[in-house]
Symmetry: D2
Subunit: 313 residues, 4 copies
Amino acid sequence: MNQVEPTQHKWLHDHISPDMMQLHSIRKVLFSGQTPFQAVDILELGSLGLCLVLDGKIQSSERDEFIYHESLVHPVMLAHPDPRRILVIGGGEGATLREVLAHRTVERVTMVDIDEEVVNICHRFLPSFHQGSFDDARVELCFADAREFLCRGDDKFDVIIVDLADPVEGGPACLLYTREFYRLVRNSLADGGIAVVQSEPAGWLHGQNFAAINNTLKVVFPLVSPYQVHIPSFVDLWGFTSVSLNIDPAVLSPGEINRRISDRLTKQTRSYDGVSHCAMFSLPKHLREEMAKIKAVISDSDPVFIYRDLPGS
Amino acid sequence: MNQVEPTQHKWLHDHISPDMMQLHSIRKVLFSGQTPFQAVDILELGSLGLCLVLDGKIQSSERDEFIYHESLVHPVMLAHPDPRRILVIGGGEGATLREVLAHRTVERVTMVDIDEEVVNICHRFLPSFHQGSFDDARVELCFADAREFLCRGDDKFDVIIVDLADPVEGGPACLLYTREFYRLVRNSLADGGIAVVQSEPAGWLHGQNFAAINNTLKVVFPLVSPYQVHIPSFVDLWGFTSVSLNIDPAVLSPGEINRRISDRLTKQTRSYDGVSHCAMFSLPKHLREEMAKIKAVISDSDPVFIYRDLPGS
Amino acid sequence: MNQVEPTQHKWLHDHISPDMMQLHSIRKVLFSGQTPFQAVDILELGSLGLCLVLDGKIQSSERDEFIYHESLVHPVMLAHPDPRRILVIGGGEGATLREVLAHRTVERVTMVDIDEEVVNICHRFLPSFHQGSFDDARVELCFADAREFLCRGDDKFDVIIVDLADPVEGGPACLLYTREFYRLVRNSLADGGIAVVQSEPAGWLHGQNFAAINNTLKVVFPLVSPYQVHIPSFVDLWGFTSVSLNIDPAVLSPGEINRRISDRLTKQTRSYDGVSHCAMFSLPKHLREEMAKIKAVISDSDPVFIYRDLPGS
Amino acid sequence: MNQVEPTQHKWLHDHISPDMMQLHSIRKVLFSGQTPFQAVDILELGSLGLCLVLDGKIQSSERDEFIYHESLVHPVMLAHPDPRRILVIGGGEGATLREVLAHRTVERVTMVDIDEEVVNICHRFLPSFHQGSFDDARVELCFADAREFLCRGDDKFDVIIVDLADPVEGGPACLLYTREFYRLVRNSLADGGIAVVQSEPAGWLHGQNFAAINNTLKVVFPLVSPYQVHIPSFVDLWGFTSVSLNIDPAVLSPGEINRRISDRLTKQTRSYDGVSHCAMFSLPKHLREEMAKIKAVISDSDPVFIYRDLPGS
């Protein structure tokens, strides 16, 4: 028996805002369940292929996850002169690990995720995402709340990669976008360390959280460089922020990026190179101006949330 | 790990017409595949529970299949004085069998379905529908095209129940709503036999096929009695037609129906009784008048189809 | 320039429940606005023609409003031996008036609606619904809260027709489905009077409110006769309840109904006649049994609401 | 009476592909009709404000049209040393005119659009888009098929801006993306002239047409520079292509762009400046590689089309 394909009758409804929805045809439901922390679906979508969907929101897709994960990992990894000890916060699909492990210098990667079940589901259903990274000898998995992990402060890291799910109200990540959390990140950086934060939509229509996250990071770090890239499955431009006490990837030239890629990576990149790097750090004028107007700083007592549709009763 | 439940993010889109769609939230996909004849989904819907979906159209649902199957089976079975040999054409879920087998008089039921895989899937995933009927000693399953089966004409039946899927263009049932097919049905009735035909939507907006099926049956049978009942999962009133050379269930009184139910059925009905029977055969005035205006007769060279959305290319 | 027609790109989303939506293509938006009481749209839908939509819910449609309005008005009007003074509560489209005015015996009709703007909009945009009824000399319009109007108790009526919008939470009708309100209705009936109440969906899936309304009416009236009819634009069977101290339309035979129609109506009916009447009062067995299980009574302190989707924030 | 606002019950369904739809809530329908060439809607959407929608596809929106129109017009206008005579093909909203007229050097702008009714509708309903440009003394409007206009070849232009609607099958623009058409554009360029072509989606998932348009332009022009920018209302990155015999805007530095903006424009830009310019011409690596693989060239006998949902029958 073959897979259904010509009729599009099952759809994922992704509520981007009260006024906008993105609908994707569902080819196959590989898994659907509820962990202690969130609803999890592994779907094969007609447009995007295999996807991880948490609480009804697409987290990453087979067709374009490489754009997201390369953009998240390589700018800060290449900006650091010699990244050996890496911390990944979140990143349940294992694709962030995969990109980190492609750097020759890496000696140890600690990955902290609150939801062991999500990691197990991704391990089982998304092999093209992690490509065996969970089993790499350099990787140490730790299932814990990221805040508690950082509070213990046992280790220092050359690079910290904050790859969290959206701050859904009541969800596991909503207090991991605050000033208090970012202070913990700073305290866990080794001398000369650098971090990157997944920073939510960076587009014209929904860029408030991106601006607020940047403002919040500026309270904690002296060097803060926002960048963005278009991820089709997220509908919008997506924001990232590099933060450090003394390193700024934004100043590196295309040629220098290309040299470091060929020196330090054990594989070819698909989306990221010197030209892409420079485009990413060049925010459009209207976004720069809009961000300058937003003054909000996120704190534990004043968090931000992403829009999420809640059915009536 | 528990089932997902509070977020409605996966939906079945049922295209009723180019101008109307019914959307149902999907709780769980139990099965999804393609047989040689049609696309098959077994879904758990938020509103309707477990459902059989063929080519994107809901065929029957856990919450209301009893209305459909009791309305299909009991009027003609009770109108016949002593139904022993029964033929079921279609009816892959096994629920039509279930209702037939509840009649004490039944000695043998032959079920002819073209799609063995659908029957196997229903056997496995829909036990509350068939309730073991496929394993009843009185049942003989035959996987064949109904037309070829009837052409062989090996047997005669007291009651024939035509429980087919919608006439989807290019689908397996589209030539089983024609004058030529109904003649084969008549030829397979034993003396004093009666048949019933699932007759498509009978509502005000989409009743043309119901009228055409009735016209076509009138070409072949002297006694033709249309009736209808509301099936929530079909959105609309649903039509059935009783046909015979000499029996008309429409004339039976509520009291007589109730007596026959208690005499001849080995179980309680849920939807059907004397009051329901009489309401079913009382079509509303506008439907009677509308049907009287439609003169179409369906033939192999001029078949009818149900609306079905086809994606562009 | 002609009307758009071949592309279906604008849709009305009618949220029937958290797990079910009905979508209708929009051909034309004739009016869209907000009164002090509710959101009002006059839409031309591809499936249903011109429609009145209040707070996002279809109230009545050009294609099938005759089923609703004939079913609401004629059973109680014909059951009363000589209805002269009529009260209509709600009924903004004017189509209830139209059916009432077709009875020769009628001398005066008082219509009480809270929302003058809705009535004006219907007057202007829905002439095929009211057919000039607002301008009939026998009609008196009164824009007031129905409860306050009945409290004044200035008049007694032979027939009272309660034709209210759904009990949307916070909407104008939510306290007009309670025991307290129905007592006011009883007090305004003349000797030998009869009333009918639009009673919300009566189908298998969403019949709780229908049962609760019937229970509540039984607290106030000795004779309570529920009936239902299929209205395509409401997706479901729709419930009505006849209430009185001494008249029960359910006992009238088809022949008697047909005689009274021809004696007392000045026009032909389209949906309602003797056969339709009897079918309407024959609720299916499962609905009778389900209603018997529900014990809720609606009061001002414990009202019921219809489901309505509220966008997140 | 106020506008409806808190309920989202009317939606625009934009079918991006058979597997993806974008839904926008509709606040208000200002106009809806059919010209001899296409279906036209002027809608106020909850997310995007006032929009022009042709054949069910959003053409431009109040919230982000400035990104599109500045990106379309300024790179080639500023790359040309002294643009005086300008041709705009398409551009019915008048916003392309608006950006062109902001250049001090402009002496005459000829705008050729096939659909006079669309231009009149935009003139009336979208004043914030054209800002009076249609009435500027330098503007000459010509309602004609662009191909016939260019065939006459009466004039030569310093800059030609091809701002056409999507190539909908059977629509007015489908033969204006071909090799044959681009040859006509080249023949109408004055010495040292430059043109820009709106080049359809440039994202990872739907970039085939962008690649094919670029290939086709390379057959006709020696200098072809693709660029892209994110337009929220188009869901995706959007492609443009600058073509010329001897000018390439891609080589200009951010500083030079900023100098020319302040020297030659009579107003502030909102989205476009030196930084934005350089990012636009830096396509991501995966798009560069994907485009290199596509060899298709578009000709009158082998045109391309955008996906469009067509309802079944």
